[in-house]
Symmetry: D2
Subunit: 164 residues, 4 copies
């Protein structure tokens, strides 16, 4: 994709020095991804990489990765990338996301890389790219654009989003 | 949502009288949804309803339905609704979808209802509404807008989308 | 479109009894829409209807309404619909929107109807339907799904969105 | 943004050696953009840059560029970028686009850069980044993800999209 110049070069800062530990802890409680054998490969400030092996339980009727699973792993990568830039007392909740499918998701492994594009005061905008590994080659298959809201109130359920 | 007048009143027509059987058959081959206990509740021309019970494997780290699972069930409902308006020799492939999250998806059961909005010559536009059932009440929690491409070539893999 | 049951029947409430006057006042300061002859037809709690006559300045290269103009009038309708549910000291800023194009926008007049779908504590989700009037008939041509953030701080420019 | 590796490095190919002339010709017939003083700055295979000066007619009620104008210039850049990869007898029609607003669009000049992400057989996926120039500095303010359909039938109006 076109990259904003600033995005390519700037350092994403996070107010929480403990960001990697909190992401790794939260990941272990993520039912879907763990049930399917997903792995948290890399956690940096503003960046997370997640891998998911192919399985029957992640497939659609033609034996490819299901579009919903593509959305799930992409949401996981960009959602946790956004979580790295939250303060200790904050969470981020998905307001919405959009996925464009670029190629059939046929392969042994799916790789999602989530990046923070903008860490705003109220909202965080992130993206995730999704590839499959097929015959040893990485093939780009989807792209997610993701809007999340920062919140300090994890128990209230007042916010109209779901949680990371 | 605002309803287009025509959408509320018009009859969606399908060129395939066998539409219910083909949707039911394809549904049984849908790995993700079946692994999670999803059920195909209703199939009409241009409309499909799918139910998914809550389980650990469909949850995120706070014990709600995972956003990716919400996308998965919504995609299933609007994707199969779109499949009902395809001709016998056609399929439809997801080009993209967008999901807005309206409320935390906490409940025992998730219900997705997919509708065809526009059955164009090349593209089908569909939407899905997603609710959860909590304490016997149905609570709206997400909305998907979905673009699919018709194709006759299921084996080629030339189209840049994933398949229904 | 599929309508959530609650959406069809519930009454949208607004905390600002002066909502119509503030929307009408803000509309007169909207450069684009006024330059093109747009008219604010109806303002209700959670609903706004805007009309735009066809002109060269609103067209693309084939003599239809430009896709960007469709987005502009849809954004205006759903943005002002969202503004009706803001408190007196609040504004709402667009976080993002998505437009699906359903049919060529060829006609003498474009009509956008914006509705609030969810008036959350932090975010407002709205939609707009867009039709053209051609040979006296109203033809649906586009659909917008729109996410806005409430804010009280109109001068700070700290929020990562644009303003209504 | 995250860049797919291939996107950063690969050469976009176009089947039409005359791509620059056809884009420049079509641009002169674009009513909205020309009425507002838009300029086509650069045309390459898979890439187009468009500039738009600030004016009252492009503004919203706070004196910033209107969100609809941001969508208009972004759609123009990514739409014409997509047109460069069409064959001589083809056009591309917008199926849908999504815009995320990253910062208030306050400035003297708006710059949109459109890139083709995927030139598929039926669909083209493109993106546009939008910046404003303020006090001599370029500030990123929006991001568009755009889906277009190739078509050979410019006169029929059968396709459910609008035209570039």
């Amino acid at each position: 994709m076109t990259t904003f110049n600033v995005m390519r070069t700037r350092q994403i800062k996070t107010p929480d020095p403990n960001f990697e530990a909190k992401v790794r802890h939260s990941f272990t409680h993520n039912g879907v991804i763990n049930a399917l054998g997903g792995k948290l490969i890399k956690v940096e400030a503003g960046f997370v990489e997640v891998h998911l092996p192919f399985s029957q339980a992640a497939s659609q009727q033609h034996g490819f990765f299901h579009g919903g699973m593509i959305a799930t792993i992409a949401d996981t990568a960009s959602g946790f990338a956004s979580y790295t830039v939250c303060a200790e007392e904050e969470e981020c909740l998905s307001a919405e996301f959009k996925v464009n499918f670029l190629a059939p998701a046929r392969g042994d492994l799916m790789i999602a890389r989530g990046h923070v594009i903008k860490d705003g005061r109220m909202l965080i905008i992130a993206e995730a790219t999704v590839s499959v590994v097929r015959d040893g080659e990485e093939i780009e298959c989807a792209l997610m654009l993701h809007t999340l809201a920062r919140t300090k109130h994890v128990k209230t359920g007042q916010v109209n989003e779901h949680r990371h």
